[in-house]
């Protein structure tokens, strides 16, 4: 099933509009290409409606947001909704500043999202209106473990119910849920937390996957999450003793580039709850 989702990305090569932070933007562009889609980055309010119209899907990432780009996010999101294009939200650092929390909440009010992807602290912030986000990483007290998995699944399903979006919570176990069904994905490697932007990259790639599979956003998002985790495993297996997080970053993108739909199908480790 994940195979089909991935095949569609490679076959349709959807053009994805990204309004994203300047920290990880290059990696986002390269991973979108690696998975078979085509990225365009544009964030000025005077062009985002045009670019969204030209593209087939939109990815909004609020890291390094500012007053200029917040306006652009709203314009692009509404335009994508009008056109019925899939839209992904990555609420980077929601809970870490009033501006990020309020911007994320405002985006949720004014734009209908297909997928919302964050770490547990970011998603809790959005779901509850308050949070304990410490920077851009999940708070230790929030970490998703087997012990609290049921609670996290319930949170994801509830927030999916409320927003109509597929909710993706990434961590040691990744949860991908709509209001009824949750994929618990076990792919990945703990060293993925040692590179900046693995979450940003996943959000950009998820936009490619749901855009290429408009009828099945839950499965498409789960496929993207499994692909990212599997790439993390493949990349880890290549590391020599001298390699560290910078080489690892390159190897993850390389692994997506070389991944086939069959490899994904075979390597995906998940259960459905």
């Amino acid at each position: 099933m994940f195979r089909k989702s991935f095949e569609n990305v490679r076959k349709k090569c959807p053009l994805i509009h990204n309004i994203t932070n300047y920290v990880t933007v290059n990696d986002c562009a390269n991973i979108v290409i690696a998975c078979g889609a085509s990225p365009i980055m544009a964030d000025d309010k005077d062009e985002v409606a045009d670019i969204t119209t030209l593209c087939a899907g939109l990815n909004i990432n609020i890291g390094t947001l500012n007053s200029r780009t917040i306006a652009s996010m709203l314009i692009a999101g509404k335009r994508a909704n009008e056109l019925n294009h899939p839209v992904v939200l990555d609420p980077v650092g929601a809970g870490a500043s009033k501006l990020r929390t309020e911007t994320a909440m405002r985006l949720l009010e004014e734009v209908k999202f297909t997928v919302i992807r964050g770490n547990i602290s970011e998603i809790k912030t959005l779901a509850s209106g308050s949070g304990t986000t410490k920077g851009v990483d999940a708070d230790v007290a929030d970490r998703v473990t087997e012990e609290c998995l049921d609670d996290v699944i319930a949170l994801a399903k509830g927030f999916a119910e409320k927003t109509g979006a597929v909710i993706v919570i990434t961590g040691a176990v990744d949860i991908v849920a709509d209001s009824k069904t949750a994929y618990c994905i076990q792919n990945g490697h703990s060293i993925m937390a040692s590179i900046t932007g693995s979450g940003c990259q996943l959000s950009a790639m998820t936009a490619a996957f749901v855009t290429a599979n408009p009828e099945r956003p839950l499965e498409a998002a789960a496929a993207a999450v499994a692909a990212m985790g599997l790439a993390g495993e493949t990349a880890h297996a290549r590391l020599s003793d001298l390699d560290g997080n910078s080489t690892y970053r390159n190897y993850i993108i390389d692994a997506i580039y070389n991944m086939t739909p069959e490899i994904l199908e075979k390597g995906a480790k998940y259960e459905v709850r």
Copy 2:
């Protein structure tokens, strides 16, 4: 002849001012260093005139343009013209949004460019005032092939005549033309389309080459294009089965770093029409 152009870059180490997009800016800086020049990135309207004055050449790239940086592009471009410094334009995504097309057209009106480098869709947009640019990649219908090569050469020469600039159209075959002479360069590898920013990098490197060779912009631009293509070949030859577009990106810059003027002279594949 390409050897001499490249030797001058390594010998003169020209300082190049770049106003460029935030997607590929790091790669642009590293390839400018790799070829032997020195980059400085600055895009605020209150400093670009100073920075342009300090530098020997200017590279303007309109990817991720915004109202703040558009003003800076105009100031810097005019200042470079006053100082008789070479200026390169990379009209990223011209045709993809009204803002990009209009900004590119306005830059063409108010600034005299030494080189304009884009893919065929971008150059067609500028030459005709309309285009079918799909995002930041050339439209499939526009792709440069052997069959349409004569038409593309005529387009490049005509646009060179009109603007007084050397026109560089990159694709499967790269065209570098002034109003009378066109280099058709066969270096490169198709996998170069799989990394973000190979065009941006080439534009930045072209600025270094034409700045170091002020008397011969046509040959200097052709040398830069051949160097980029040759680096793409060298980098491809290094790839293992596990490597993908991210490692490939690093290897291209590495290949420029290790390329000597002699290697370029020997490896360049082109004809003059």
Copy 3:
């Protein structure tokens, strides 16, 4: 002694707020993670006070500054001072434009810095109020050599006396000085000048080191400088004939990732004057 400084970074994992340029921001984030700390990048005036409050230390880098981010630098710097958080200044290109020089001088007036790190041209500009900075690299006439080392040490100690900050001047020999004591650090490799952003990365990492060692900023900054130089040596030893500056950039970050406090202690080469 450097061992202890590095151990504290790995143990405390301080959260570091970075207001930094878009050229090297990704490398800054990855090296902060590599050394054991956690980065967050945020530059909007409406959130920097929140983010600085959340973090334990602040790194201000003026490369690609603009009117919007200059305001944010001032707000964040003052907030960090109120909270008694360490603040690092990287005056990228001070002396290259009026805007950069004036901004750096204004930051020095309004914010108390724990560490100021630049090349000799940048530091001279700040210490004297004028300079001959050519772009973002040190001017040739300014290069730190054994011959002029005593003068540079005197400059660093004098400027440390004046500002109350630890002064770091990087070059072939790196000087780390307060008003009384100077470390002259001999680690590093000349190829480090061939990658963009090794200085920016060092400043970000220095913020992590001084934040984790609030009682001993001089030693902590010296430890960060030695770690960066040692990483440059380790990375150089890995290079194959085909590798160039792009791969080297990755290897430096990898080397920090794999460096232990013991390796640093053993590999640091310095004298105290």
